[in-house]
Symmetry: C2
Subunit: 224 residues, 2 copies
DNA sequence: AAATTTTTAGACATGATTGTCTAACTCGTC
DNA sequence: GACGAGTTAGACAATCATGTCTAAAAATTT
């Protein structure tokens, strides 16, 4: 029986560290091998922990998987909102600042880390655990999209862009940014910084041709 | 020993039919459960065939998987080029005809059938069978993209579009068409005809704002 | 330093799956 | 009606993974 003192008392130190390394290792293994192919012994070995400890912490392969998905969702979201907070709010040069933002976005959201994990896991195991990934869908892409949409709306209101439907614009922006990243990502190929930069530049150029302020003759009659 | 008569002699009739149904069943099971989770007994049952027959035909789980990937790649490609052949070559109304094409494209390429199978299999098992999916990558997306790019180039040459880089335009077109299909596809949700239509319309509108001929001031000097 | 909790290594039972083998069966052909 | 290729059901060994258990070791708290 715990004596009920501070929540982060000392015993949790090594405990929490092990828990984290188990989650990390499990994420890697689940992602590499899929749920069915994942081997608990391998997870334990990769986490530098005995198998029994894995069971002590998470009780079950199923529950371990759930813990991994939840943890990754949280990390991924935190990361995403960090990047989102660097969205250019009052840019001197829309194109260059939006491009720089797109680079940050693609670098951290898609290529590295949790984002890819989750996408793959959803794709592979979504059928078997619908409720888990339903949460991800609502809390993940949904919130990011609308946050990004709000940023675009502000940019449009400030006169830097010409956007009817900010939600649509946000989704299309993300789609354009990802155009040339899909295949390398699928094959786990490293994406060089230059590639990222060039790709972002292409995406933003097209995006601005569609949504830029100085896009030819003013639309015939928008509000009258 | 076969008597060496017609290649499609009668004995092969049931044979070929079984082979096909095995491939189909295996595709479904591999796609649902992943390679590790796929159960040969289940494949046999779903194909209406005994397990031994599966082994007679393909010898191995590994080779069965390879056969499935190859077959699906071929079917998917054939289908894709069928749809590609309906690309509007000399449209009276670019927007409406391009939208109709986008509907056909998203309906057959992404939602139904082999395309989704392959994407998921590549995502899930690409690490384990790189050489298999390398072929898919070259023969699948690569060829489709360049074929679509050629069509766009023709459309631009005929004066209906204003495109610098047709390959890029083709990839961006596909990305825009898929914007709102990703999530429903991921979750295997049915996509209604109206949704498809509306989505295609949005995609094409944005695409044409970026690449349309009458997009504001005529580009400085294209051909004189 | 003693006590308590966590971790470890390994054995263990259980169940599932792969791939082989054999004997019986079906079907179209001669 | 018999032949032969292909098919079937089921038994079978071998492998492997999950999850439990136990006794010993390590780390922490009092």
């Amino acid at each position: 029986m715990k004596l009920g003192n501070a929540p982060d008392s000392l015993p949790t130190r090594g405990h929490a560290a092990k828990r984290r390394s188990i989650i990390d290792a499990a994420a890697a293994v689940f992602c590499r091998e899929g749920f069915a192919g994942a081997n608990i012994d391998l997870v334990a070995a990769e986490a530098g922990v005995s198998r029994q400890t894995v069971y002590n912490h998470h009780g079950d392969k199923e529950r371990l998987f759930a813990a991994v998905v939840q943890e990754m969702t949280e990390r991924s979201n935190a990361h995403a909102f960090d990047v989102l907070s660097t969205f250019p709010d009052d840019p001197a040069d829309v194109e260059s600042e939006l491009t720089a933002f797109a680079v940050r976005l693609s670098a951290s959201l898609m290529c590295r880390g949790e984002g890819g994990f989750l996408r793959k896991l959803v794709e592979a195991e979504g059928d078997r655990h619908p409720e888990l990934f339903e949460v991800w869908r609502r809390e993940g892409p949904g919130r990011i999209w609308s946050a990004l949409a709000a940023r675009f709306a502000r940019l449009a209101y400030a006169g830097h862009l010409d956007i009817e439907d900010p939600d649509l614009a946000a989704r299309q922006f993300l789609a354009l940014v990802n155009v040339d990243l899909k295949l390398p990502l699928l094959f786990r190929e490293p994406v060089s910084e230059e590639t990222l930069q060039a790709n972002a530049a292409r995406a933003v150029r097209t995006f601005l041709r569609a949504y830029g302020r100085d896009r030819g003759p003013p639309p015939p009659a928008r509000e009258a």
